[in-house]
């Protein structure tokens, strides 16, 4: 049995947040309970609670933890691809892979929390959730805009509209995969992304996408 060390606090805190994020992806951020969380981690309610000033603080910290996990699992891999349409495609595929890999047990953490808070009145938690969502959509949009600048997308293409439609397919896949226990919805989303991208792509854009596919195939 390891005794608590000087630096165990941060370690414990991390473990709490990891478990909290996992639980929240299933039961929602409001569904998290200090008691359940403590039981899950084999510690006392009060011991756990002492790491946070309030449940709201815990929720906010959980979101930040999940954001970091999202960056590591979805954003970072895709950012190694060249900016433009290839990266845009990579972002979509990265998200679908993240869903397929069950990075969070209940599906995408942010999809779950967005759905949980979208009808609720404003508040710190809701605001942070909305901010995360906005940031992700912004990434898609900026990547699409860059692709258009590179001449890979039609000049008339609306980056925000394209981001909206891509994100819609990704979100729908996330829901249906879990709701119907059917991973084939990931391929439906891939199909949708492919259709949408090639429809908006210029010849140069299609070439860029094609060369990636060849490099991988």
């Amino acid at each position: 049995m390891t005794r608590p060390n000087r630096a165990d606090g941060l370690e414990t805190r991390r473990a709490i947040l990891r478990t909290a994020a996992d639980l929240a992806s299933v039961d929602g951020l409001e569904g998290i309970t200090i008691g359940r969380l403590a039981t899950e981690l084999g510690m006392s309610k009060s011991g756990l609670f002492a790491h946070f000033g309030s449940k709201e603080d815990l929720q906010l910290a959980t979101i930040e933890h999940a954001r970091q996990r999202y960056v590591d699992e979805v954003l970072s891999p895709a950012l190694s691809e060249p900016a433009g349409i290839v990266r845009l495609q990579a972002l979509c595929e990265s998200f679908l892979s993240y869903v397929a890999r069950d990075v969070f047990p209940g599906g995408c953490f942010f999809a779950a929390t967005m759905a949980e808070y979208d009808g609720k009145p404003d508040g710190p938690v809701r605001d942070l959730v909305a901010d995360c969502q906005e940031q992700w959509m912004g990434t898609l949009e900026r990547t699409a805009a860059r692709a258009r600048e590179e001449g890979q997308l039609r000049p008339g293409c609306d980056p925000r509209q394209l981001a909206f439609e891509l994100e819609a397919a990704l979100l729908a896949a996330n829901w249906y995969v879990h709701l119907h226990h059917d991973a084939s919805f990931l391929d439906r989303a891939r199909q949708a992304v492919h259709t949408r991208l090639t429809a908006e792509a210029t010849a140069r854009g299609r070439t860029a996408l094609g060369s990636v596919r060849q490099r991988r195939g």
Copy 2:
């Protein structure tokens, strides 16, 4: 003050379910509380509870009530349009209108409950929610299939894929309208539906869609 009549039971039950569905669209079906519901309706917890054998029964009844409202507000209006691509378009527009009209205060009831239960283990409530979702997607799919039979959609068009992509746009609009308090996402979805339908439509299909648009001015 009205005294209870012989038939007041059903009336009260209906009022309970109406309020329960409204609350659930905001806070989720698990977020419903007998106490809050009773307070909201100005009656006692026990009096309310007596109408249902358990909270789960209340949840199931709430879903059935919401399903009826959905039929009235979304399905029925669209079913007066001629079968095929016109009806498919009408179903999408009907859904967007239903979101815009705030039929449920927290956005689409079924989007909210689907998101709430998609990561949870099976159970009667989850199963019913999944069934509702499947039925709606099935309606979109069958309508698309019919449109293809009518020669309004390309022979190579996959009705289920099309239904998935349309539904994705509708769902995304539902989330973002409320999350960002920005009704313009409804137009984003309209744009997506239009793009998708015209891309899959034959000349005959486009004519059918066009004549409707003209008829409406």
